[in-house]
């Protein structure tokens, strides 16, 4: 497999507002500027409703910003494309297709299935789902389904992989093993990764940089470099220090913490 080079994302003065069901204007993103370097692993973290997912959807091309633009390798993003793969918290596998057909879906819609047939098997193997090619989504566990969803996005060789709380619905053990898998894939493929998460540990464990966002109207509060050598240990002192620092920025340190997520 050829490494996927490039994949630079640049967001310039992004402003996005919604009208909620009560008819009020909600500013989801206010003047967001960020450059994500090719092959970088970025996590977006911040309180609920701070526009992390909105930002991810803009990069995916599923929504349009009210002003500002996002570019991929210099080209403005206007609509969804296979170059920017997306993995949701819910694996969203097509229930009428088995694992193999789900993974092959992107190749088929793009009309390149014939030439790249073998890659379907390769990516199923990469995510550790050999032997489950013929299984339907309802027969898979949550972790397996998410692996299949990863393979389905990766088979297109996206320049950027967008992950919206991909492991949020998994149990703690499955989540940790999936994080290791993701690191392995990322090192192997060199894909730019942008991940939304609620889990500070996950962000530190995986990312090169962590983008901390503030509550509404969302702005980038802080961008933290994670200068911890890989492979990282969750109990390293640097890890714990950084964790404390991020919690402080998020204003959770030393106070009664209102949990936003439940593990």
């Amino acid at each position: 497999m050829v490494k996927d080079l490039n994949g630079e994302i640049e967001a310039i003065h992004i402003y996005k507002q919604f009208i909620n069901p009560q008819g009020e204007n909600i500013v989801a993103l206010n003047d967001v500027n960020v450059v994500i370097r090719p092959g970088e692993f970025i996590s977006l973290i911040g309180p609920s409703g701070c526009g992390k997912t909105t930002f991810l959807r803009l990069v995916a091309g599923l929504d349009k910003a009210n002003s500002g633009k996002i570019t991929l390798d210099g080209e403005t993003i206007t609509k969804a494309s296979y170059e920017r793969g997306l993995v949701f918290q819910d694996p969203t596998l097509f229930p009428w297709l088995d694992v193999k057909e789900n993974v092959a879906y992107g190749l088929k819609t793009r009309g390149v299935f014939k030439e790249k047939k073998d890659e379907v098997g390769e990516f199923i193997k990469l995510v550790g789902l050999e032997g489950f090619e013929k299984s339907y989504p309802h027969q898979l566990s949550g972790g397996m389904a998410q692996r299949a969803a990863l393979a389905r996005a990766l088979v297109n060789h996206p320049k950027v992989l967008l992950l919206d709380e991909p492991f949020g619905a998994l149990d703690a053990f499955t989540r940790m093993s999936m994080q290791d898998e993701l690191i392995k894939i990322w090192k192997d493929r060199g894909t730019t990764m942008i991940m939304v998460t609620h889990d500070v540990d996950e962000a530190i464990y995986l990312s090169d940089r962590i983008v901390v966002m503030s509550a509404r109207p969302a702005k980038i509060e802080n961008i933290i470099n994670v200068n911890i050598s890989r492979p990282r240990g969750r109990d390293m002192p640097e890890f714990l220090n950084l964790r404390a620092k991020i919690l402080q920025i998020l204003d959770f340190a030393g106070k009664r913490i209102e949990p936003e997520y439940i593990i």
Partner: protein
């Protein structure tokens, strides 16, 4: 569960149908025909019972060697036995004791006689009905899926077509008979229209509701995998709406049968419905029953076939409607 000692294992319950058939056979032979029975007598009921007896004896022998087949037969044996017992009672009530009016309730042998003497004509009628049904049903289902997709997917089509569906759809298609028979050049085309309409409505409604309730996330994922709008419709919306589309087609199938029979009884020449109506007018009730049995068997087979197709297409999800 009894302990399995060797491959030969007989369950006595497989003999229940055999006993029931034997009882019918013995009573049919021993009891004399009622004195006031004026019809010519035929041996067909006896032949029929002997044939059934032979079949069930063979089945009983096979069950002794095949455990899963035995379980199936044992499970059904009470029902099959009871069914033949009822047939037996019916035979006694007609030809033997004449407790119900013979002209409307002919003896089993009279009905069997119709199949034996008139099978070619019945088959011809069935063929004609089948041609009518397939033409009308096919066009109705195809058009229903097309309009369903358009209305479910596109706001424009929904705006213009949905009100029409709401007004036209609920009218039972048989209510169109008087208009259809004068508006179309032949009774065949009129019937095709009526049957098509009967299938079109439920197929359209359930297809469009299936399409419009597809999870948005499927389209989003599909788009980020490189799919175009057309591909989103045919590779995501349609397969995802398939369970709903199938329910529409199933409802359409049932109303197409109804419409077929009504159309044939009202105006079309030929066809099983016409045959039944015609024989009723001639007070030839054995033929009416033969027609009804033909319909029951055919329609039941068609529905079974439809469900086989469903199971094939919807293997990924189970248990929508049981048949």
């Amino acid at each position: 569960m009894t302990e399995k000692k060797n491959s030969f294992r007989l369950d006595l319950r497989v003999f229940i149908p055999i006993e029931s058939i034997s009882l019918a056979l013995v009573l049919n032979k021993l009891l004399p025909t009622n004195g006031s029975y004026t019809q010519k007598e035929y041996p067909y009921f006896t032949y029929f019972l002997i044939l059934l007896l032979a079949i069930f004896i063979v089945i009983a022998v096979i069950t002794a060697f095949n455990k899963s087949f035995q379980d199936k037969i044992v499970y059904k044996s009470w029902f099959i036995g009871a069914a033949f017992f009822l047939l037996n009672i019916y035979n006694l009530a007609t030809i033997k004791f004449m407790v119900i009016p013979n002209i409307y309730f002919p003896s089993p042998e009279m009905i069997l006689k119709v199949f034996i003497k008139d099978w070619a004509f019945l088959l011809k009628c069935l063929g004609y009905s089948g041609k009518l049904l397939l033409t009308g049903y096919g066009s109705g289902a195809v058009l229903g899926i097309i309009t369903g997709i358009l209305v479910g997917w596109s706001k424009g089509w929904n705006y213009w077509i949905n009100p029409v569906i709401k007004v036209i759809g609920p009218i039972p298609s048989t209510a169109w008979v008087p208009i259809a028979l004068v508006a179309f050049p032949t009774s065949f085309t009129a019937s095709v229209f009526l049957i098509g309409l009967a299938v079109w409505f439920p197929t359209t409604v359930l297809t469009s509701s299936g399409i419009s309730s597809v999870k948005q996330a499927y389209f989003e994922v599909s788009s980020t995998l490189g799919a175009s709008t057309i591909q989103n419709i045919f590779k995501v919306a349609v397969p995802s709406a398939m369970p709903s589309i199938f329910i529409g087609i199933f409802n359409g199938t049932c109303s197409s049968f109804l419409t077929l029979m009504t159309a044939e009884m009202l105006g079309v020449k030929y066809g099983v419905g016409w045959y039944i109506n015609w024989q009723k007018d001639m007070l030839s009730y054995p033929n009416v029953y033969a027609g009804l049995i033909t319909i029951a068997v055919t329609f039941s087979l068609l529905i079974t076939l439809l469900f086989k197709v469903r199971d094939k297409i919807l293997g990924w999800q189970k248990g929508v409607i049981k048949w």
